[in-house]
Amino acid sequence: MADQDSFLHLARPLGPVPVGAQPSTAPLNVAIQPQAIFSILDHSLRRPADQERVIGTLLGTRSEDGTEIEIRNCYAVPHTETAEQVEVDMDYQKQMLALHLRANPREVLVGWYATSSELNTFSALIQNFYGQQGDGTWPHPAVHLTVSTVPGQEIESRTYISAPIGVTAERAADSCLFIPVPHELKYGEAEKSGLEIISSAKDREDRSQPIITDLEALERAIEHVLDMLNRVSTYVNEVLDEEASPSSALGQFLMNALSLAPKVDAADIERDFNNHIQDVLVVSYLANTIRTQIDLSNRLATAALTMGTGDVPAADGATQGGGNREGGENSRGRGGGRGGGYRGKGRQQREQEA
């Protein structure tokens, strides 16, 4: 990603705009959550065939002093662009914003995105629209995120804020200075499991991946760790054989990692291991026992048993089934439900003691 670019912000004289109506141009940090990028890429795929780029609105949160911005969400806004003019559906933008804010009341408008790296007059016009007073992000600067989607090239994303430049008053609306600001992709623990499975499909021909079970996930993780261990030990062996050049920093790092292995008594391990494996197996056994009991209870409850007691006169089918069911349920209630319950509770207490 382009977030390794370095940025230098200089204080500079500002353009001919009345003091006070001026969004801040202080540098800020932008964090982008992956679903926003994914959504932009999806929008880019669904653009009309004759349109070079598509735009949309970015939603997110802003820290209190306005120097940290987190882009969390975005939505597409239809617009048309020709050589002479650009038209953005303002009405759509407003209504969609209202709908989004109903579902995510904590998010605010932070800026807009375009799916091309190019910055032109229209970009400036749209940027000024998003940064204006009233519906825009004023007094905070609007963030402009560009994600290039040129086939055959890497996807590059850049973020900008803008400052007015000194031009004549009639051209002020469609001109501004885009100032690059740093940004990074940020994802939390919750998204990690999702990104994991999504990116596991990246090397597959059909670009799809069935949901994997816990066991498969474990297997893959272990395979990966083993692979890395092999690489490290190959390198260490090569250093020992004087085939590869040694590095004291790497050696120190490996030593640090190795010293993390716990020194524990064999008996302790044995005991802890036995305790825990018993816990796990007992809970698994109980869960399955309870399942069987419940299944049995259901079958008894609905089984059309005739105990050979003959027909009860003046009783309809339901009564007969009901009478038999009572027997079944009684036996289950004591044998299964209670038993399972007590055993489960006993188990629970033991576990809390442990």
Binding site: D42, E191, I198, S208, V225, A249, V280, D295
Partner: protein, 370 residues
């Protein structure tokens, strides 16, 4: 021909990566209150492609219409949130949102809803009612995506797609869950929900983007770092890859087992309450039966006396007016509860499988030579 295409049942569900992330984001933001939202996409030859999604508005005020739908439930927030997909206000919201999405070329068909849950505790009346509402009112081909937040945080993503079986739909429509009906139809709790195989699909652009994540591979040959601080500070030091996720190597056992035990106990308690209801019904039914029999015998004796004294006979079927048999309680709760227990048991099985192998690995690592 058109009809045959239309009638193809849904065999699989294909979810776009975008949807997965949006669902995860919404679910983890509202956790532990269940999050719900709507899914849009289309049906292609029996594969339901879910291509976009949007959350339902958070319920901040107790809306009047959710009370009418949500009768006899306590008005706590999680119940309201769980009932959101079938609230009237949200249907309007959904229609409006889909109208807007159509303008930007998103597949504008509603194909279901999603819900977040914790520890697989999702099989309850609310889920069933939501899905019933969707399959009946909206569109037959809709699915419920269930995302389990607490299981996903332990490693592998837990996202599953469910539909109500046709047999259950028919039975629920008539709300006939009496013993007699269940006997006749042979309906079992395993048949309530049908799980559909789910795959995650990436677009070409996304695949290309993923190859840059979490960081691009450095293009030039790297030098060895001069010291360990430089190694850690170097931006070229690779981040842990997104895949595979090393969280699944984590060895925490007790919290999971404890939670599962609690949930199992809860289910057993529920089951017990339902059993008691049935026993109560049985007893009152028995009492009424005894009364009716007594009345009938009395009437017979009376009639015999009247016949002997040549008087007109009294009708013998008057008991149907005089006595009222108690209503049998619905067995739906029992069925759902049973299905829930089955779900827990399977969950524990899966957990046991991976955790016991992890434990044996740790043991043999720490105690080599045994």
């Amino acid at each position: 021909m058109a009809d045959t295409i239309k009638d193809t049942p849904i065999k699989a569900v294909q979810v776009e990566a975008l949807v997965v992330l949006k669902v995860i984001k919404h679910s983890s933001a509202t956790f532990p209150t269940p999050a719900t939202g709507s899914l849009v996409g289309m049906d292609v030859n029996g594969t339901l492609q879910i291509t976009n999604t949007f959350p339902f508005p958070a319920i901040d005020m107790p809306a009047q219409d959710s009370n009418s739908n949500n009768n006899s439930h306590q008005d706590n927030s999680s119940n309201l949130a769980a009932a959101a997909p079938r609230a009237k206000a949200n249907t309007a919201y959904q229609n409006e949102m889909i109208k807007f999405l159509r303008e930007v070329n998103v597949d504008a068909n509603n194909v279901g809803w999603y819900m977040s849950t914790s520890m697989g505790n999702f099989i309850n009346l609310n889920t069933i009612e939501n899905q019933f509402f969707y399959q009946k009112e909206m569109n037959e081909k809709t699915v419920a995506l269930i995302h389990d937040v607490s299981r996903s945080s332990q490693g592998a993503l837990s996202l599953r797609a469910f539909r109500l079986s046709p047999a259950f739909m028919a039975a629920y429509k008539e709300s006939k869950f009496t013993t007699e009906n269940l006997q006749k139809s042979g309906f079992r709790y395993q048949d309530i929900l049908v799980e559909l195989p789910l795959t995650i699909h990436n677009s070409h652009l996304l695949t290309s983007y993923l190859h840059q994540l979490p960081s691009s591979i450095p293009k030039e040959e790297l030098d060895f770092p001069p010291n360990i601080a430089a190694l850690q500070a170097d931006p070229n030091t690779p981040h842990p890859p997104l895949f595979p996720n090393y969280d699944s190597l984590d060895l925490s056992i007790d919290p999971y087992l404890e939670k599962t035990c609690n949930l199992l106990l809860e289910s057993i308690d529920n089951h017990h309450t339902e059993l008691n209801n049935h026993q109560y019904y049985q007893r009152s039914l028995g009492r009424e039966q005894a009364k009716i029999t007594a009345w009938q015998q009395k009437r017979k004796a009376e009639n015999a006396a009247r016949a002997a004294s040549k008087q007109p006979l009294l009708p013998e079927d008057e008991w149907q007016r005089l006595f009222k048999l108690p209503q049998e309680p619905s067995r739906l709760e029992v069925l759902l509860n049973s299905r829930q227990v089955e779900q827990y048991a399977r969950q524990v099985d899966g957990f046991t499988a991976s955790v016991s192998s992890k434990m044996f690995a740790v043991k043999s690592n720490l105690l080599p030579g045994e």
